[in-house]
Structures are given as structure tokens and as C-alpha cells.
């Protein structure tokens, strides 16, 4: 079984998986396991190797090296079984543009030889009032929701979502997030790729950070942040530099920068202590901000590069 002890709790097991395109090593011998019932996010910038990895697991691309098992099936031999048992939302889901929402779901249900509750699926993705609308007339967010419904026609145990919210507006993005959380509650396994750190942080039980074809870190978002992120930052907006010595009396460092005082927090002192100390003086501030360290900081710290999120969440 080439170094992999098949684990009954594992939905996906990957060992030394790699993909080469000419001189480019798109995926460089990565190994990881996705447990059944968890939401696993692959976080990385465009071109990091996320889609290549997910497409190898979906049996769309042949690996150059390594092994992987999806739901216990070997990706190099059992593509048909994997396709039948997984739900896949590709990047930029597209289908026949002159079929309606309902016809599209019926079409894919037929292709999977499955008999899902079509109206139930339409309701689940909240497309009831659009069920007779042609695919070509749907907005980007609605198309993705239809794509998710299509990924569910075979009642899959495992769902691959490749950049499910890329290019969507914040409202549409939150609708998709809610759907993904629904799957989680139903006990389905979700493999998600994203370049939005907030998406990974909000949804995923565990996050794999991928950079230049290598997994540079893999753990829960909280543990990644506490291990690789910066300290949380307390910011006193529009205040006086007199706040600095007052705060530093508590044994933490404070910086005065452009009218604001910034305090990197550590376990030695609580925010309440700082505020209590300030209340004893006549130092005032207009606003108090607590900036939490994020996966963006983790990524920056691990790779020296930004995630390159262009669109606001």
C-alpha cells in the first residue's frame, strides 16, 4: 500500500503527491490527511498548487508522483468510483447555458444515475424563485449556488469546493459559507481551496497552507495563528504620547505612531489592566481597537509573501 496505512477515519490520504509541468513543479511531494466529517481548507495564493492538488484528487489530472486515496479509493485506479461518490464544485462552475436551474439539476442527477429530491436541493441552495431561470441569466453568486446543488445530486460523502466564493460579493459569499456549514452539520467532509484567509479561518476545522507546491503549515487556524502569527495588537486611536509610559509601567511595550498608540499584547497583561491604568491618568483616546492576528500574518510569516487577496471580504 506504498507507505499509507489506510485509516477508516480518513476521507482523503495523500502521501508524497507531486505534479510536474515541464520544468515547473506545481505540487512538490505533499502529504496530508483529511478526516471524515471535517472541513479542510487549502489556503494559498493563486498559483500555489491548490487547484492542481484538488484536481488530482478529483481524478482530473494524473499525478507525476506519489499516492492518494479518496474515500479509500486509489486516485490512479478508481477514478470512476471516486467520481460517483464525491461532489465537485469546480472553479467558475459552468454548464449548458440554456438549461434552467431545475433542468440542470435534473441533467446532472441523470448523469449520476441518482434520484435526489430536486425541489429539496433547490430549496437548500435557496434558488426556489429562480428554478425556471436559464443558467445564462443567473448572477455569479446564483451560478455558484447552483453549482453547489449540482455537487450534491449524488448525496456525496465528500465535497470538493475549489475557490467556491472567488469573485463573489460579500453577501453572496456569506450565503455560500452558510451552505458549507450546513454540510458540516450533516456530517459531510468538505475539502475547500481558497485564497481568502477569512474564509479558511471562519469555515475550516483545519487549514493547510500551501506555497509554491509545498505545504508549509497544517493545523487548526487558532493553533497556526498562535504559533506563526503576530501578537494581538491593542490600538488607542487619536491619543497622547503620554499614554506610552503609563502602559509600559505594566511591563509591555507601547509605540506612539501618528497620533495612535499601539500595544502588542502578550499573556503577561490583560487589556482590562491597561484600561484601568489609563483611567487613573488624564490621558484620553477617541477609539479603542483590538486587532487580532490572522492567517494572513501566518502566511506572511511563513513565506515572506502576502496572500494577495485583491477583493475585500
Amino acid at each position: 500500500m506504498w507507505g499509507i496505512d489506510l485509516n477508516n477515519d480518513a476521507a482523503i490520504e495523500v502521501e508524497g503527491l507531486s505534479k510536474r509541468y515541464g520544468d515547473l513543479m506545481a505540487v512538490n511531494g505533499i502529504s496530508f490527511t483529511v478526516n471524515k466529517g471535517e472541513i479542510f481548507a487549502f489556503l494559498g495564493p493563486n498559483g500555489a498548487g491548490k487547484t492542481t492538488t484538488v484536481e488530482m484528487l478529483e481524478c482530473l489530472r494524473k499525478p507525476t508522483g506519489g499516492k492518494a486515496y479518496v474515500l479509500g479509493y486509489d486516485i490512479s485506479k478508481d477514478g470512476e468510483n471516486i467520481k460517483k461518490r464525491t461532489g465537485i464544485l469546480p472553479q467558475d462552475f459552468a454548464t449548458y447555458d440554456r438549461l434552467t436551474v431545475k433542468e440542470t439539476i435534473q441533467y446532472f442527477a441523470g448523469i449520476f444515475d441518482s434520484h435526489p429530491d430536486i425541489d429539496g436541493l433547490i430549496k437548500q441552495v435557496d434558488l426556489e424563485d429562480k428554478k425556471d431561470t436559464l443558467f445564462r441569466n443567473l448572477s455569479g453568486g446564483l451560478k455558484q449556488r447552483l453549482g453547489i446543488a449540482v455537487a450534491l445530486v449524488n448525496d456525496p460523502e465528500l465535497i470538493f469546493l475549489d475557490e467556491p466564493t472567488a469573485g463573489l460579493d460579500p453577501k453572496a459569499r456569506h450565503v455560500v459559507w452558510n451552505l458549507i456549514e450546513e454540510f458540516h452539520k450533516q456530517g459531510k467532509t468538505v475539502f475547500l481551496t481558497t485564497h481568502y484567509m477569512e474564509e479558511a479561518e471562519t469555515l475550516a476545522d483545519r487549514v493547510g497552507i500551501i506555497h509554491n507546491g509545498n505545504i508549509v503549515a497544517l493545523d487548526t487556524a487558532d493553533r497556526l495563528i498562535s504559533e506563526y502569527g503576530k501578537k494581538n495588537l491593542l490600538i488607542l486611536k487619536r491619543t497622547s504620547s503620554k499614554a506610552v509610559p503609563t502602559i509600559e509601567k505594566l511591563g509591555v511595550k507601547a509605540n506612539f505612531d501618528g497620533g495612535d498608540v499601539k500595544v502588542p499584547l502578550n499573556h503577561a497583561v490583560a487589556v482590562s489592566e491597561i484600561l484601568h491604568e489609563l483611567s487613573k491618568t488624564n490621558v484620553h483616546f477617541d477609539e479603542l481597537q483590538l486587532k487580532r492576528s490572522s492567517l494572513e500574518d501566518v502566511f506572511l510569516n511563513l513565506t515572506g509573501e502576502s496572500l494577495g487577496e485583491n477583493d475585500e471580504i
Binding site: E55, E58, L60, R61, K62, E80, K83, K84, I88, P90, Q91, D92, F93, A94, T95, Y96, D97, R98, L99, E103, Y107, F108, G110, I111, F112, D113, L134, G147, V150
Partner: protein
């Protein structure tokens, strides 16, 4: 099988909802048939021929000169315009830019009789004045020469008089529209199949439909079969429209038999394969359309869809022999119009073999996903 039916239903539903596709699928053959039919079916192959009969006695045309005029007239190949015997016909032809003028000289009747008595040791001459820069002049010249040759042949056999039927080098009993309609059916099968195949393949590759299909249990061959059947059905639709118009507007008589239906189906199969092969080598839908045009446009002109191959220069006829559409067109004409079932079957077998070859190669090289 159920997957093929499912995808075919989706393709047909998509087609019916694409109003412009339906319109052009029906309108294009309509326009072509009505336009070309109207242009060519009425005047068919009649050419203007000016004649001056100088062989007259007391203002009355002689026996042999009248016979020549009547015989030429009976071919129904000409609109004959008689000129007055007194004018200078050659000058008249130059001044009025007349392409063909036949002069029967004075004394023709006597020299013709002399030729008969001497069994051809002397000849009676007529003069054909023609403008060699016009294409019709050479056709007129060849018809007139044929008539005169035949006339001579009949006389030498001792036949005293030549009636119309005997002399007829007249146009065959088929009109241009009879020739044109099967060519249009062949051409429609080609354009429908190549363009649909190329543009759908290129579009689905670009917009991600292939990507999604690749994630499902749908097999590539199932999809290709569904799309090929779709092309056959759309070609049948075009064929049906053209046949109805041909019968309704031009009173065409043709045979619709299984051979013609198989020929159209196999042509669609073959050109679907050609389309897949083209689609494999183009990057985007625009390039795909341009490539499809580059293949179909020369083929429709070089394969005898519009004009008989015999009217083309020799080297183009040689090219036509290697173009598959030539065999589709000729096979369809053979079965639908001329009733030559042997040639039709032969061509159908050839197209079936080519069709299977192209569809297998096309299917083999069509990829939904790059590895």
C-alpha cells in the same frame, strides 16, 4: 445509453431555445435555395445567339439556311436574334458588343447541295463571329460546332432531314435546381456539423463546461455520440426544409430513400469528427470559428456544391477528387436526382468509412481536461 439520451435532450432543448440558431439553421438553406433557384431555374442554360442569313433568294431564305436556323433553334439552348441580311454583321457585332454571331453566307444552299452530291469533297461553310473574351462565347461555339458536326454526320448517313429530337444536344432534362439542391444538402450537413462541433468544443473548453462534465460519470464517448446524433438531426432539419422548398417552389421531383438519409447521417458523422480535430488545435472560440471557415469555405466551392466540377479547371477538379464533400454531393445527386443507386451506394460506403475514421480520430484526440 440513458446518458446519451439525456445529453441529446439537453442539446436539443438548448438548440430550440437558441432562437438565432434555429432561425439560421432554417433561414440559410431557404435563402440559398430560393435565391439560386430563382436565378438559375428560369433562364436555365439559354444563351444569346445572333444570326444573319445572307442566303436568300428574292427575300426568301433558302432551304438549307432555314434548316440550319431551325435546327439551332430546336436545341432550346439559344435565344436566337435574326439580323437583317443587308447590314455589315461583323461591324454590328463589334459596335453592339455581341459575343456570338453566326453568319450563313450567300450561296450556302448551293454549296451545301454540291457537298451532298460530291459526298463531301467540297464543304458548305458558315461563319461564327465571337468575342473570345466572354465565357458564354466559347459555350455557344461548342454547341454550334456540335450541331453542325451532328448535322454533317446525319447527312453522310443519307438521312435527308434532321428533326429536333435527333439533333438534340439540348440541355439534359435536369435543371440547375436539381443539381443545386443535393449540393446544398451536402453543404449544410458539412457546415452544421463542423461549426457546431468546433464552436461547442472550443466554447465548452473555455467556459469550463468540459471541466464540470469531466468530474461526472459521463463518458467522453457518450457525450460525443450525443453531439453527433444532434448534428445529424440538425442536418436532417436543414435537408427537410430544402426539400420542401424545392418541391413547393420549383416542382422538383426527387427520391428520398434510406441511402440519401444514411449519406447525410454519415456526412454529419464525418464532419463532426473533422470539427473535433480542428477544435483540438485551436485555443479559443474565435480562432475556432476562423479555422472552421478556412476549412468549409474552400470545400463548399471546390466540391461541386454550387457548380458542376466539369466547369472547373483541371487542377481544381483534381483537388475536388480528394475532398470528402465531393463524394457526399455526388452521392446525394446520384440517389436523389439521377437514380444511380450503384454510385450512390458506393459513395455512401466511402463516406461511412471516412466518417468512422474521422469520428474515431476526433474522439480520440478530444480531451475534456489536459493532464
Amino acid at each position: 445509453m440513458s446518458h446519451i439520451k439525456l445529453d441529446l435532450e439537453a442539446a436539443l432543448r438548448t438548440f430550440i431555445r437558441n432562437k438565432s440558431a434555429v432561425f439560421w439553421t432554417i433561414a440559410f438553406p431557404c435563402v440559398m435555395i430560393l435565391l439560386f433557384g430563382a436565378i438559375f431555374s428560369q433562364s436555365s442554360t439559354k444563351y444569346d445567339l445572333y444570326m444573319q442569313n445572307q442566303d436568300q433568294i428574292n427575300g426568301k431564305a433558302t432551304y438549307w439556311s432555314t434548316t440550319i436556323v431551325n435546327v439551332l433553334n430546336s436545341t432550346k439552348a439559344f435565344n436566337i436574334h435574326l439580323l437583317d441580311a443587308s447590314i455589315n454583321a461583323t461591324d454590328y457585332a463589334i459596335t453592339n458588343r455581341i459575343s456570338s454571331l453566326l453568319i450563313i453566307p450567300s450561296g450556302f444552299n448551293d454549296t451545301a447541295n454540291m457537298a451532298l452530291f460530291t459526298h463531301g469533297s467540297s464543304t458548305a461553310n458558315v461563319t461564327l463571329v465571337y468575342d473570345q473574351s466572354t465565357s458564354s462565347a466559347s459555350i455557344v461555339r461548342s454547341i454550334v460546332t456540335s450541331v453542325i458536326d451532328r448535322f454533317n454526320f446525319q447527312l453522310s448517313k443519307g438521312v435527308e432531314y434532321l428533326n429536333v429530337e435527333d439533333l438534340a444536344i439540348a440541355p439534359k432534362p435536369f435543371s440547375y435546381i436539381d443539381f443545386f439542391l443535393p449540393g446544398m444538402i451536402g453543404m449544410t450537413a458539412m457546415t452544421t456539423s463542423i461549426f457546431t462541433s468546433v464552436s461547442i468544443s472550443a466554447r465548452f473548453k473555455e467556459n469550463g463546461v468540459f471541466h464540470k462534465l469531466a468530474t461526472t460519470p459521463l463518458k467522453r464517448y457518450e457525450w460525443i455520440l450525443s453531439r453527433t446524433i444532434y448534428n445529424v438531426l440538425v442536418s436532417y432539419l436543414g435537408m427537410g426544409v430544402m426539400i420542401i422548398l424545392g418541391i413547393a417552389f420549383f416542382s422538383m421531383k426527387m427520391t428520398i430513400n434510406p441511402i440519401s438519409l444514411i449519406m447525410v447521417a454519415m456526412a454529419s458523422l464525418m464532419f463532426s469528427g473533422v470539427g473535433m480535430i480542428i477544435a483540438r488545435f485551436v485555443k479559443d472560440p474565435d480562432a475556432a470559428d476562423a479555422a472552421a471557415n478556412a476549412i468549409t469555405f474552400p470545400m463548399m466551392f471546390l466540391s461541386g456544391s454550387f457548380f458542376p466540377l466539369s466547369q472547373m479547371p483541371q487542377f481544381l477538379q483534381a483537388i475536388a477528387q480528394v475532398l470528402p464533400l465531393t463524394y457526399v454531393n455526388e452521392g446525394l445527386r446520384a440517389t436523389m436526382i439521377f437514380g444511380q443507386s450503384q454510385q450512390a451506394i458506393l459513395n455512401t460506403v466511402l463516406i461511412t468509412v471516412l466518417g468512422l475514421l474521422f469520428i474515431v480520430v476526433g474522439s480520440w484526440i478530444t480531451k475534456w481536461e489536459e493532464d
